[in-house]
């Protein structure tokens, strides 16, 4: 790794604009994101919050290379991104496990795609299942697991490939509150053991503050921009339930919510008009 690469952000979005063609002939094209820039340092945990429908997922798809931006550049470790982002793992909001593969085979999938021998891949998958608390569930198919367990499988499936960047799209939004806090703490444990760059998208401000090093606030869509950035200086290691009761957390929460509230109301008004 050269010196310049070491200093370069793990992921940089530079003046990204995404315009989607209209679904019918009369409507104008829809600008989801306009001239949005974002940098994530190696090992940094960044959360992106914003009102629903503000193009958060669009941004993540651009960072993953699944969607080419209409304008702007994505840089991965300083290099412009072409095609899929091979250094990134993506934890999707919706169910993305292969339903015809058992938990073990799902976790091993990425290794097998990379040409690692099946027996060896399954062995490493078992180790990872243990690490996310699912030892003994390897033979279960996704439909036989609970929502929280499926999330753990998805997490292991992504992290087993050791990506430099992890993109997470509201990964815990479908879980109940208790499971969610459990998963958030486990995520922090896994992350602190082996610091990867994380881009974590959520609409839950408390989740964003309790997990992150930095919180970026997006404006309501269309033509979403970044309107604020907050460094979260809370001490680590954190417990996501306890940190929410500290003074520092509450102050940050008040400060960021002040900014976010106006956007949420704007977004809400737009949905009502539509």
């Amino acid at each position: 790794m050269s010196a310049s690469e070491a200093r370069a952000p793990a992921l940089a979005l530079e003046r990204i604009t995404c315009i989607f063609p209209a679904t019918d002939r009369i409507a104008p094209p829809y600008t989801a994101v306009r001239e949005l820039s974002l940098q994530v340092a190696p090992g940094e945990f960044v959360s992106i919050v914003g009102p629903t429908g503000c193009g958060k997922s669009t941004l993540l798809n651009v960072a993953a290379g699944l969607l080419a931006p209409s304008a702007g550049i994505v840089r991965v470790a300083g290099e412009p991104l072409r095609g899929l982002n091979r250094r990134a793992g993506y934890l999707f909001q919706a169910e993305a496990l292969l339903p015809w593969r058992s938990a073990r085979e799902n976790v091993a999938a990425g290794l097998q795609f990379r040409g690692i021998e099946r027996r060896h891949a399954l062995q490493r998958a078992d180790e990872w299942l243990g690490r996310v608390g699912l030892a003994g569930f390897g033979d279960h198919y996704p439909h036989q697991l609970s929502g929280g367990m499926r999330r753990r499988v998805a997490l292991a499936q992504t992290l087993i490939l050791d990506p430099a960047i992890v993109l997470m799209d509201e990964p815990f939004s479908a879980l109940d509150v208790q499971t969610r806090q459990l998963m958030e703490n486990e995520l922090l444990d896994l992350w602190s053991a082996d610091r990867k760059s994380v881009v974590f998208i959520t609409h839950d401000l408390e989740e964003a503050i309790s997990l992150s090093d930095r919180v970026v606030v997006l404006s309501a869509g269309p033509a979403t921009r970044a309107i604020g950035e907050f460094v979260i200086g809370l001490a680590r290691p954190r417990d996501v339930a306890e940190v929410r009761l500290t003074r520092g957390f509450l102050e940050l929460h008040r400060e960021i919510w002040e900014l976010l509230k106006a956007e949420v109301l704007k977004g809400h008004a737009q949905i009502q008009r539509a």
Binding site: E95, P99, W100
Partner: protein
């Protein structure tokens, strides 16, 4: 649990009684002369004829030929439908080009192709297999096409992010997804393969259960015609239960209610 097993026994008894009742009514009506025996046969003779086929061993060669035709038509039609379905679902230009012709070929009553196949492939096994293939192919083809189109875009994106190449996507995402759709159509297609074989034989052949029925009909032997139908029905049920067994083995990953739904 005990209540449900008692319920199952009652249901089974009811079903057997229904079948027995049907044969009894048939027997009484033909014995009393309400229905002419010449046109409706008598159940005792029908069952006797069917039993004699098996005891004398006369049926085995014919049944074997019909089953070989069915299995060949089923296998070839399924393989062809799978390959063409995958190809067209993943090649939008070719699929747009061929769409009207595929629709036309599917709408056409394919049984009328039997005489043409008889001319092309002769009166042996091949012409029956060809007819069965044309029937099976479209069922499987449409299901595979649908299966590939309905692959969840998130599952697909996930597999790509995990590093799957185009070939790996085909092998690990499209194919398993299509397979589950194919299986839900196998019950229909195995029946269709059977139809192709028997109708083909009936229209011109020198062996097979359809040939036996045709011969008996020529001699106005209605009892033997019914016996042939009885044997065919029994073996169609047997084939269907083999498919059910296969389905349960291969689609273990699907939630149970989905399997019962597609039955």
């Amino acid at each position: 649990m005990r209540r449900s097993s008692a319920h199952r026994v009652r249901l089974l008894v009811g079903r057997v009684l229904l079948l027995g009742g049907f044969f009894l009514v048939w027997h009484v009506l033909t014995q009393t002369g309400v229905l002419p025996r010449f046109f409706f046969g008598t159940p005792v003779t029908v069952l006797g004829n069917a039993a004699r086929w098996f005891t004398s061993g006369k049926i085995y060669r014919h049944l074997g030929i019909t089953l070989i035709e069915t299995v060949l038509a089923f296998g070839l039609g399924t393989a062809l439908g799978l390959v063409v379905g995958l190809w067209l679902a993943l090649a939008p230009t070719a699929s747009a080009l061929l769409e009207p012709y595929i629709k036309a070929a599917n709408a056409m009553p394919r049984v009328i192709l039997a005489p043409i196949f008889a001319v092309w492939f002769g009166l042996g096994i091949l012409s029956k297999v060809a007819l069965g293939v044309t029937l099976v192919f479209f069922i499987v083809f449409f299901n595979v096409y649908q299966g590939v189109k309905e692959v969840s875009p998130v599952v697909l994106a996930n597999a790509r992010m995990l590093g799957a190449s185009r070939r790996q996507l085909l092998r690990h995402v499209y194919l398993p997804s299509a397979t589950s759709w194919v299986f839900s159509s196998l019950h229909t297609s195995v029946g269709m393969a059977f139809v192709g074989a028997v109708v083909g034989e009936y229209l011109g052949s020198s062996a097979g259960v359809g040939y036996l029925i045709l011969q008996a009909e020529g001699a106005f032997d209605i009892n033997t015609v019914f016996a042939g139908i009885l044997v065919l029905t029994a073996f169609a049920l047997l084939l269907d239960s083999i498919v059910t067994l296969l389905e349960q083995r291969l689609l273990r990953w699907r939630p149970a209610e989905t399997i019962t739904e597609t039955r």
